[in-house]
Subunit: 325 residues, 2 copies
DNA sequence: ATGAAAGCGCTAACAT
DNA sequence: ATGTTAGCGCTTTCAT
């Protein structure tokens, strides 16, 4: 491994001079600079990021903590985060937590000791006391956190309202909801949005809400349960796209047709929602943009800038496709 | 930030002693150790990974370079990698390259200067000369690399043969193939497997192979082209699951039925293959396991152990579902 | 069993 | 314009 010392020696200058040409600060004579650059190239010298970090207490690294990278929602988010990070010279440490509190705490601990310059966090189990001691800036995604943490979310409540209204407009007379885990804020908000619209209608009963867990399988099962209890359901608002996919399958397996017999709408707008048969109508969140925004916000926080805004709640959008008619 | 010095001072010992109790080497009197631990806890002291790294030249970090984390194949891989890494006290830096050579080179450069202890690489553009100078161990996924790099792949050729034979057994009389980008080794092997089985049959013509690029859309388009030219195709082997999904959609859009009119089989066994309607028959690779194996192999390489094996080619498996009858 | 001090590779303040 | 040197936080000889 080549060090700055060897470069200095070969170039016949001091390490300070080499450091100056590398970082482009301080004065260096043209000729000297050229000579140094030449040697750097010749020796294939790359400064040790570790040594640099030890000096300036910046690792040029951010941590990204997610429940599950195989969930398309988080994968898209991660892509956005990585993109912005890279553009700004940062590197991303991926932390997959499975939504497990202990795992999250462990990861947090490691991120701290690796001196990451910032953390983007998507967690529904972490509480304020778990993160308050962390000196590094944190941006929360998909939920807000107590304390002074910026957050990037989208308008879950409003989206749910839009979804259900859409179903209503399409002529649905009895609309069910497959809810996400009520421990997760987005799931609660989406349920609230649903209730907001249908809670007062005469056909509404509690039996029209089935619990899911945001995974495909639960959408499948919830739908079958729902349809067993209420044969006249003609519209289903699934708490997310994954469950909507399961829902589509369940309806198909029952010999029914979407959207002729039952209209289905999801939430998230993951890529896969447009490849189902029929293509899924959904409320799309600007997932990739949320990743970009979260990262840019984090970057600002890291530079010590005041936040322009602490809480971003992005607009969602109704995407009408073939599963609602 | 608490340093080892403060701990030492508070405990009334030298930094060397603190270091000893942290790392559990060297002799430390029971009482001293307890005292030190107490102070560590009290001060909430966590050793700086950076400083440690500077000493022992190990960052406890590995780099993971992938074309696209939103591709379920790579997301699953990443999950496996992260899992094993975490278990072994390593952290994963995620590098998303979009399959772009320059991006890969940039990332490689950064990984080097961050002193990652190892790299897991999935690239089809990088060549030997791009990586030979890298001192850190590298494991290649999904392809082999010249030189002494261990690799983890699966049996693409054999899988393709299995896929096409399966179609034949199901009674297909004219089988087409949607190939992946021929710049990618796996795509070439799968095409070869297809040709191996049907190349000599009397109905085979070159027009039965359509080019795709491993993305959903290309599967859709290739299928429509294929079917336009050859109305009597009754079986399609798609080069991967994503294209198979596009294929399913195209067939559906043409008013035809899978598997009644046309049987379809994919390759990869990504999670999503089981949620399509109809569920997709496919050749499944042990994706998650490939991630585990690659990481374990890398870990061994990092410990300087001789490789038990340089090249792993894992078995694939035919999964018969509803898209082939 | 414990401490003092050198050194990991670099930056930045201070000299010259 | 360039060099010297003191750290950054830690590990690890080498003394004691």
């Amino acid at each position: 491994m080549t060090t700055i010392r060897e470069v200095a020696k070969m170039a016949g200058v001091s390490v300070a001079t080499v450091s100056r040409v590398i970082n482009g600060n301080g004065k260096v004579k043209q000729a000297t600079e050229e000579k140094v650059r030449e040697i750097i190239k010749e020796l294939n010298y790359v400064p040790s990021a570790i040594a640099v970090s030890l000096n300036n207490k910046k690792s040029k690294t951010i941590g990204l903590m997610l429940p599950d990278i195989t969930n398309p929602f988080f994968a898209e988010l991660a892509k956005g985060v990585e993109e912005v990070a890279k553009e700004n010279g940062y590197t991303v440490i991926l932390c997959n937590t499975n939504g497990d509190l202990q795992s999250e705490l462990d990861h947090l601990q490691v991120l701290e000791q690796k001196y990451v310059d910032g953390i983007i966090l998507s967690s529904h189990t972490l509480s304020y006391s778990d993160v308050e001691h962390i000196a590094t800036p944190i941006v929360s995604i998909d939920r807000t956190l107590e304390g002074n943490f910026p957050s990037v979310t989208s308008n879950n409540f409003q989206g749910a309202v839009m979804a259900v209204r859409h179903l209503l407009e399409k002529g649905c007379k009895k609309i069910a909801h497959i809810s996400g885990p009520q421990s997760i804020r987005t799931a609660r908000l989406r349920l609230q949005g649903y209730l907001e619209v249908v809670g007062d209608l005469d056909w509404y009963t509690e039996a029209l809400v089935a619990d899911g867990d945001y995974e495909i399988k639960s959408g499948y099962e919830a739908t079958r349960t729902l349809l067993q209890m209420n044969r006249d359901i003609d519209g289903i608002f699934a708490g997310n796209d994954l469950m909507a996919v399961g829902c589509l399958k369940a309806i198909h397996s029952l010999g029914l047709h979407v959207p002729r017999d039952i209209s289905v709408i999801g939430f998230d707008g993951i890529n896969f929602s447009k490849i189902t048969i029929p293509e899924l109508s959904t409320i799309s969140q600007p997932i990739y943009d949320m990743g970009l925004l979260a990262t840019n916000t984090l970057l600002k926080a890291m530079e010590g800038q005041c936040y322009e805004q602490m809480v971003y709640e992005l607009d969602v959008q109704l995407i009408e496709r073939d599963s609602t008619k």
